[in-house]
């Protein structure tokens, strides 16, 4: 039987909906006919009260969200507040939400009907303009600079692509705040101390640089609440610079945190230890290991799970082996690390 090498499930059932919902750049740019009008609803806000204004805008070929905002400001609402500088995907100032998705106004094709709102998770100054101060304060607090562990040896200072592979991704950031607006954990406000994707990417520019000192990196990472990232990839989905934020910035930073601040990585380390010992996750062992006696506060749930046969105390207490135990011990256990 010959099987084809699969690079990514870019075809077939994993993409159902993409064609019918115009989920491609070509489809997005050919949805509206020149000469027709598009409907643009804009969130207007000053102080705490807000409302939506609706405008009919004549469509021009290749029209971007920013072009529609410009037409509205010039023809219908001269008091519309929105922000942009470069108009070419570099300055990161024009990000808004279009139909519930974070986009750069200067880079996104208009849709036949669209609702434009300011970014979430930041205070609104007016209409589509948000206050970037909470983000900037958070980044400044993380001290995103390099402190060398030893004296500068002088120029040239060669760095390989491999050494900079993750930092270089973070350096693509244009600071547009799309990811910060899309992050569901940031959306929960002060419930956690999570810094959010945008500040972590800013930190990654120096914390993932091999010239930075571990003590400095540890000091910064201690302020990020990084293990509260839920790995939902909402940030990656909206990043106009296509930075793999989760896999190339947050995860490498988590690896550093696990090494430099092991107490913060209790959950990740317990998970690795249990998989290395047992081959599979035993949820009982994981929760006990991470939460300790705090786990008993969840007694009603523990009873419910026991009654439905969803957890097995015997498996946890006697560390019952499975067919996966030996391979895991060999590949992840002490033998593997020697």
């Amino acid at each position: 039987m010959t099987l084809q090498i699969q690079i990514s499930p870019r075809d077939g059932a994993s993409r159902i909906g993409q064609a019918e919902r115009n989920d491609s750049l070509v489809a997005r740019n050919s949805r509206v006919e020149p000469g027709t009008n598009i409907v643009v609803r804009i969130r207007r806000q000053e102080h705490d009260t807000g409302h939506y204004d609706t405008f009919s805008v004549p469509y021009r070929k290749w029209m971007r969200v920013l072009d529609a905002l410009e037409w509205i400001a010039e023809n219908k609402a001269p008091d519309l507040a929105y922000r942009w500088i470069c108009g070419s995907k570099m300055c990161g100032t024009c990000a808004v939400r279009m139909n519930g998705r974070e986009v750069l106004a200067c880079w996104e094709a208009v849709e036949p009907e669209m609702t434009i709102e300011p970014l979430r998770n930041l205070p609104v100054i007016r209409d589509l303009v948000v206050d970037r101060r909470p983000f900037e304060d958070r980044v400044a607090g993380l001290e995103p600079w390099i402190e060398r562990p030893s004296a500068y040896a002088g120029f040239p200072e060669p760095l390989s692509h491999k050494q900079m592979k993750d930092a270089s991704k973070a350096l693509d950031c244009i600071g547009c705040m799309c990811c910060y607006s899309a992050c569901p954990v940031i959306g929960l406000g002060s419930l956690t101390d999570f810094a959010g994707p945008a500040p972590l990417v800013q930190l990654g520019q120096t914390a993932l640089d091999p010239r930075n000192s571990p003590a400095k990196i540890a000091r910064s990472l201690a302020l990020t609440g990084i293990f509260n990232c839920v790995s939902c990839y909402k940030c990656e989905e909206v990043c106009p610079a296509a930075i793999p934020i989760v896999s190339r910035v947050i995860e490498p930073l988590k690896a550093k945190a696990a090494l430099l601040l092991p107490e913060r990585a209790r959950h990740a380390r317990a998970m690795r230890r249990i998989v290395a010992e047992r081959g599979r996750v035993d949820p009982g062992a994981l929760i006990l290991s991470v939460q300790g006696l705090r786990a008993l506060l969840r007694l009603p749930r523990i009873i419910r799970l026991l009654l439905r046969g969803k957890i097995s105390p015997l498996r946890t207490i006697f560390r019952i082996k499975t067919a996966a135990t030996e391979p895991a011990r060999r590949l992840l256990g002490r033998e593997a690390s020697q």
Partner: protein
């Protein structure tokens, strides 16, 4: 059609009913599953972050086990699926990594060449069974049952893996639900995050996030939610009582694993699908569908 089958850890512990249901539904569908019993955990989100080398080794070993059998690999968990896809992508694009992992697998006489096709149960339904055959197999259409599809994250994001500009455009589960006779609803939580991956150290995020999603499904008129991921199920169903307490209101929304929904339409009983193993009573879902179906027939 034969598959190497990787149930993952959750379907062997907190969601054991998913494994039972998958085996029974697979028989009805004519799928022959070879369960990979010596397969380890894929490392969830933790291993890939703090021990990438170990992560690649465990995942590529699973792919090698399937390749040794010359079978495509079927998964039933979003996070496992993405882990395996990511490990496969790294393997075929990084020769040094590939060689290093194969050296570690050699003592077991295992070697991966990059030929395993990874397919979630949801995709198998479309790609290997096909919509037409599936329609023929439906013996008990779930007419009258309104369902809210809860995709979770790792079956529709990241874009670099799945290719969606906007992951909300994935409609695979809704289309399937229609084939099974249900009425799918549109609601805000469809492709949102359940918060499972931080729940072992802090449940509040999962409780708050998922509370919003269940509320939105209930408000949208869903009799039940359906998910292709046991990790999402753990929060949606297993945490629902805590979520109700947090919201200060009753929800009582049954949450089905995807194979259970398919199984009901294929004529399996709630008992055969282990619907009685859920925290929120789910067996009633079968009766909801049939009751409404019967009413529609009378009308």
């Amino acid at each position: 059609m034969r598959f190497a089958y990787y149930p993952g850890c959750s379907a062997r512990s907190t969601c054991a009913e998913l494994n039972v249901a998958t085996h029974r539904v697979a028989r009805r569908l004519g799928l022959d599953l070879l369960q990979l019993d010596s397969a380890t955990c894929t490392g969830a989100r933790e291993l890939r972050a703090i021990d990438p080398a170990g992560f690649y080794t465990l995942n590529i070993r699973i792919l090698a086990l399937a390749e040794r059998e010359q079978l495509p690999l079927m998964t039933i968990c979003n996070t496992c699926t993405l882990n395996l896809l990511d490990a496969h992508a790294a393997f075929v694009s990084d020769e040094a990594l590939a060689q290093g992992v194969n050296d570690k697998l050699a003592p077991e006489n295992l070697k991966y060449s990059g030929h395993t096709r990874i397919s979630h149960f949801l995709w198998v339904l479309y790609e290997n069974i096909g919509e037409e055959r599936l329609r023929e197999l439906v013996t008990t259409p779930l007419t009258g049952l309104t369902v809210a599809a809860f995709y979770g994250c790792h079956i529709t994001r990241p874009p670099l893996r799945y290719g969606f500009i906007d992951s909300r455009n994935n409609v695979a589960i809704e289309r399937l639900a229609e084939i099974l006779g249900c009425r799918p609803i549109d609601y805000s939580g469809r492709t949102e995050c359940c918060g499972f991956h931080t729940a072992a150290h802090d449940e509040t995020v999962a409780i708050k996030l998922t509370g919003q999603h269940i509320m939105s499904a209930k408000t949208g008129g869903a009799h039940a939610m359906v998910t292709p991921c046991p990790l999402c199920h753990t929060v949606l169903d297993g945490f629902q009582r805590e979520i109700e307490r947090d919201l200060g209101r009753s929800l009582d929304v049954p949450v089905l694993h995807l194979p259970q929904l398919v199984g009901l339409a294929l004529g399996l009983t709630p008992e055969e699908l282990n619907l009685d193993r859920h925290i929120v009573a789910a067996a009633k879902v079968a009766h909801t569908g049939r009751k409404h179906g019967a009413m529609n027939a009378v009308e």
